[in-house]
Symmetry: C2
Subunit: 208 residues, 2 copies
Amino acid sequence: MPPKPKTEFERQQLRTLIMDAARELFVSRGVEAVTMREIAKRIGYSATSIYLHFADKEALIRAICDTDFLALADALKNNLAITDPVERMLAFGRGYAQFALNYPNHYRMMFMTEHPPCDPAHSCIQQNNAEQDAYFQLKTVINEVFLAGKFKSDLKDPDLIAQTVWAGMHGVCALQISMANDIWVNWAGIEQRLQMMQLTLMRGLMRD
Amino acid sequence: MPPKPKTEFERQQLRTLIMDAARELFVSRGVEAVTMREIAKRIGYSATSIYLHFADKEALIRAICDTDFLALADALKNNLAITDPVERMLAFGRGYAQFALNYPNHYRMMFMTEHPPCDPAHSCIQQNNAEQDAYFQLKTVINEVFLAGKFKSDLKDPDLIAQTVWAGMHGVCALQISMANDIWVNWAGIEQRLQMMQLTLMRGLMRD
DNA sequence: ACGTTAATTTAACAACGTTAAGTTATTTTG
DNA sequence: CAAAATAACTTAACGTTGTTAAATTAACGT
């Protein structure tokens, strides 16, 4: 069990071992409910060992988030191949929602809890890289629809359109994640709500 | 320091004293960051005393949420007086967003964190009472626009419309609360984003 | 006057994130 | 080749947290 000087590669390897174990636990039970000791036990190390690789729990979460943003961008990448700009936009939205609902604890971690902002300086993600930056993908997808002249003529800021589309899809996903079990509300099916949101956004944004 | 047998009214009074202190702290720093001991000190009691009135921290949060839903319904009530159904709907949406952005920690507590569902059985709020149930208000407001025949003719489920409108506004507010400080995104002004969402929902839902 | 009871507090527990101090084995150096 | 330095790791421990059990205090009913 004891110590050998490790190569940089081995350190990286342990780092991602920790992150993978932590992610698995976070995803299944949420960030708050998972303890550092538990993560450590999972990989046969002591809790304190984690602190040799991450400053604190927050930093660990942040690091995981970071790679998850990569995963999101990767999951959405496929849709970019679709040729028709409008079809592409729709598929992109569906993909986004699918990610959110397939990995609700990820999604909560990434978009629904406030952690110190994702500083591009300390992130491994290259901002404005289409392979890595999902928000850049969204902007691009929207902008291409914009350039094709498909949006209503009085809409002149593609970034504002992108943020509106994002907010619409996020709203459906976030309410689903936080409030789906609330019996107060007689929820329509999530699939129906997603489709309705996409339909509404389309009609509200696109030229007749 | 000393105990007297208390009347039911005095018990209620202490209960709300606890809730008010807790709310104030929760609102200014968020639920997680506030400790039971701190709440107790604020009102000159011992931490354990809180447990004579609330089963645990979660129950305290839930109780506060409950009265905050009342506050939301109360804040939105004014808008119901507006006569034109469409104007009323727009004002209602603005009011909702105002509440969310004025009391972000409340809003987070109410709509962005998963707590065991708001069981109508254990809530002091009367479901489907227009004075108390904000979601019922929303349904009513939407339904009146629906009955006035203002929505697109293929939209036949007012509840689904209500949930879509809610999701849209919630999306803008929730992203603002969680991600406004994220420098990754070049956010448009929140006022602009809200207006854009309302415009888009209007255009997407209403008959031409 | 006295025991019962309710309101409250103090002490204590187990668990958490985290830090300090130790342990062990390898590498470097004299 | 022995000794010192170093890296990887663990055990112990600290301060806080939510919460529970036990002790304290004061009013009430008889």
